[in-house]
Amino acid sequence: MILDLHSHSVRSDDGRAQVENYCQWVRKRALPIDGFVLTEHRQFDFESDYTALAREHGLVILKASEVETDYGHVLVFGVTPALVQAFDFASIRLPLVQVLEEAERHGAVAVPCHPGRTRVGMCAHVEERGPVPGVRMVEVYNGGSRGSEDEAAHALAERFGYQGIGGSDAHIVSHIGRCATRFPGRVQSEAELAEALRAGAFEAMSWKSKG
């Protein structure tokens, strides 16, 4: 199963895509993904229910978050109501250590994303202050990466033995599915996604060079 693990809808302040339009794009373009995860900025979207939309298009649509830490942006998979109470998702100054620990405590998985990106990626912060204990994986393919940002992400993963995931970081419809992550089995819920990531059997994928 292939899931785009990083996307934003109009629920994010800078998202310009309706979720339904993502679904239509995936099907119309016959993209090789089975679904996508909505990782809205600095929040977890408890309100939206995409069950009917997912069923209509035969896709898996899951929800997660992208939060902002002292080591850059971090995707959090398997968010629960209790985890949302554990730290302020809206803050832009979260300690990465706290996000990792709370995620672990609540059965979620925290993954630093676009680590090669200036200021909001982990690489530069690691160079400055050293690695952070508890990081197990990073996003090595990001659809919004420029220049050598993905290469820097791969180098970071190789240096510290991190596993890699992929996600498009789509904010507009045509960017969905540019990068993704392949899992050996079915993933149908947020809890299953967190479990699959913890299990460690996955592979980051990118179709960016194919246009």
Binding site: D13, H73, I92
Partner: protein, 145 residues
């Protein structure tokens, strides 16, 4: 600048009020600029002739921020969102009332940014809410010297 303090002090307080008259010619010009083809937006003789949904984005108050809002930097336009509530007809007079709807911060490639969402609510002469326009401003934090 502490965001929570700004929110407590400035959110949801009207700081501007301005009247507008919706003219048929302006509606037609706006529809043409948007590339509208539906007769209800392009034909004044149409029974349901009305302004395009985003028409109210053209209205501006006398100021974008409260008069006593602190100078955080140079605000740049970060986009607009229009939430139409009712059809707007030619000749109607509207009153736009503005308040700060949200203040938040985020980080990006260029560093920390503060976003200010100035919301104008437009009412008709019967005090019915006809449209809500959010104008977003972004202020980039100055890099440390």
């Amino acid at each position: 600048m502490e965001i929570e303090g700004l929110k407590r002090r400035f959110l949801n307080l009207d700081f501007d009020e301005r009247s507008f008259e919706v003219q048929k010619e302006a509606m037609l010009e706006f529809a043409a600029a948007c590339g509208e083809t539906a007769p209800r937006y392009t034909d004044p003789a149409h029974a349901d002739f009305q302004a395009p949904p985003t028409f109210c984005a053209r209205f501006h108050g006398r100021r974008m921020l409260p008069g006593d809002f602190p100078t955080l930097g140079i605000p740049l336009d970060a986009g607009k969102a229009v939430m139409p509530q009712q059809p707007i007809r030619a000749g109607v007079k509207l009153v736009g009332k503005s308040h700060l709807h949200d203040i938040y911060e985020k980080t990006g490639r260029t560093g920390r940014m503060i976003f200010l969402v100035s919301r104008m609510e437009l009412y008709d002469e019967g005090q019915a809410l006809v449209s809500i326009v959010d104008s977003r401003l972004v202020i980039r934090e100055r890099p440390a010297a």
